[in-house]
Amino acid sequence: MRTMMRIFLFSLAVLAFPVPAQDAAPDALVKRVTLEVIDLIAKDKEIKAGSRAKLVEVIEAKVLPHFNFTAMTALAMGQNWGKSTPEQKKRLTEEFKTLLVRTYASALAAYSEQKFDFRPLRAKPTDTDVTVNVRVLQPGAQAVTLDYSMEKTANGWKVYDVMVGGVSLVANYRTEFANTVRASGIDGLIKDLQTKNRSLSKQEKK
């Protein structure tokens, strides 16, 4: 389990750069972007000096375009998604996105040089829903697997779930979301997420 959580969250942040070629193969995309991001973290002076704000800025500008947060939120909400109003959906997605970005930043800040093994894609060229497998190698411990679930959209390939060491991020929020909705409704969940985000942003400023 060591460093798994860190890699888990880090992995979400590696798809960080806009792609010039929108129809690039998803595995090639993951590889190029991962390597680019590692390079960026290694070189940026502010990030190296521990600037959390700069990291969040980078993630917001670069990572978000490659993730379909609406799809992620919908999957994490399960049946409750259909019961939400468009306004609630919008706010849920916004808050969930903020929470994830903040946790990425923490994970990225903790990044230390692991090596990556990019697995060849096992999919047909006509597939529109694929899983890209990457293995993170670390000396003295079992390799950690990263599985990016990606869907082909009009705007290129988008990630809608990440599994790290077999743990799906989206699935992991399902029970939490369902419990909160059962106890205090969809608005209650939105409020809980807001409170969580606010307390995290306070910690950041400390």
């Binding site: 390799a143 743990v167 939490e176």
Partner: protein
């Protein structure tokens, strides 16, 4: 020891009293589990974490990695046994080769030379073997001090510890020192993960439970479990 159980019982009752939510079918003992969870958290905050932090301050990362490698090497023996029990003979041979090379050329395991030779580290234990043989996980269970488990994995853990070469070490004082070092080193490795969990989770208990259950399922199938489609 009786006193310890009384504390546990008390914690468990406290848990029952406060949980009025709908039960998760995978976690019928949630009230009890939350009690043990709170007990573990208390021990963790007041004892384990401070000790682990002091340990990290005291010893350089390089040395801590060596310590981790030493324990990891000893575990390779039974990782191999479990691979054999699951019919994965090639993996089992790989694990025993790792142990052989690391114990000799790796100076009692402190250097992981086997990984550099391309012999991969595996993750196996008796809980996974039972799972591979078809045993269902049973109810989720939080073990005092050890944390997340299930009835199946708890039985597996008991056997893991029963057969662990570490239990044979004598004199007893040395064995206990090694146990202590193992726990502190393991906790130190998890300090960062704990902080991230704190940030990511709305309800830490639920987040940790779901991650554990997903992780174990994946491990039993060596990373490629039959896919559960999310709707």
């Amino acid at each position: 020891m009786t006193r310890f159980f009384r504390v546990l019982l008390l914690a468990a009752l406290g848990g029952c009293a406060t949980t009025g939510e709908e039960r998760d079918p995978r976690d019928p003992l949630e009230g009890f589990n939350r009690g043990v969870y709170r007990f573990n958290e208390t021990v963790d905050v007041y004892v384990a974490q401070p000790v682990a932090r002091a340990y990290v301050k005291l010893l350089h990362q390089e040395i801590r990695t060596r310590v981790g490698n030493f324990f990891s090497n000893v575990q390779d023996i039974f990782i191999g046994v479990n691979n054999f029990l699951q019919g994965k003979f090639e993996d089992g041979v790989n694990d025993w080769a790792r142990f052989t090379f690391n114990t000799t050329f790796g100076l009692l395991g402190i250097h992981d030379v086997a990984s550099e030779m391309g012999l991969e580290k595996h993750n196996e234990d008796f809980g996974q073997t039972f799972g591979r043989w078809g045993a269902p996980p049973g109810p989720y269970l939080i073990l005092p001090f050890l944390g997340s488990s299930t009835v199946r994995d708890g039985a597996g853990t008991a056997i893991d510890w029963w057969v662990a070469p570490l239990t044979e070490v004598r004199p007893i004082a040395l064995r206990n020192t090694l146990y202590g070092l193992y726990f502190v080193n393991t906790r130190a490795d998890l300090l960062e993960a704990g902080r991230l969990l704190e940030e990511a989770a709305l309800d830490k208990y639920v987040f940790q439970r779901d991650a554990y259950l997903q992780r174990r399922r994946s491990l039993i199938y060596d990373g490629s479990p039959p896919r559960e489609k999310l709707e």
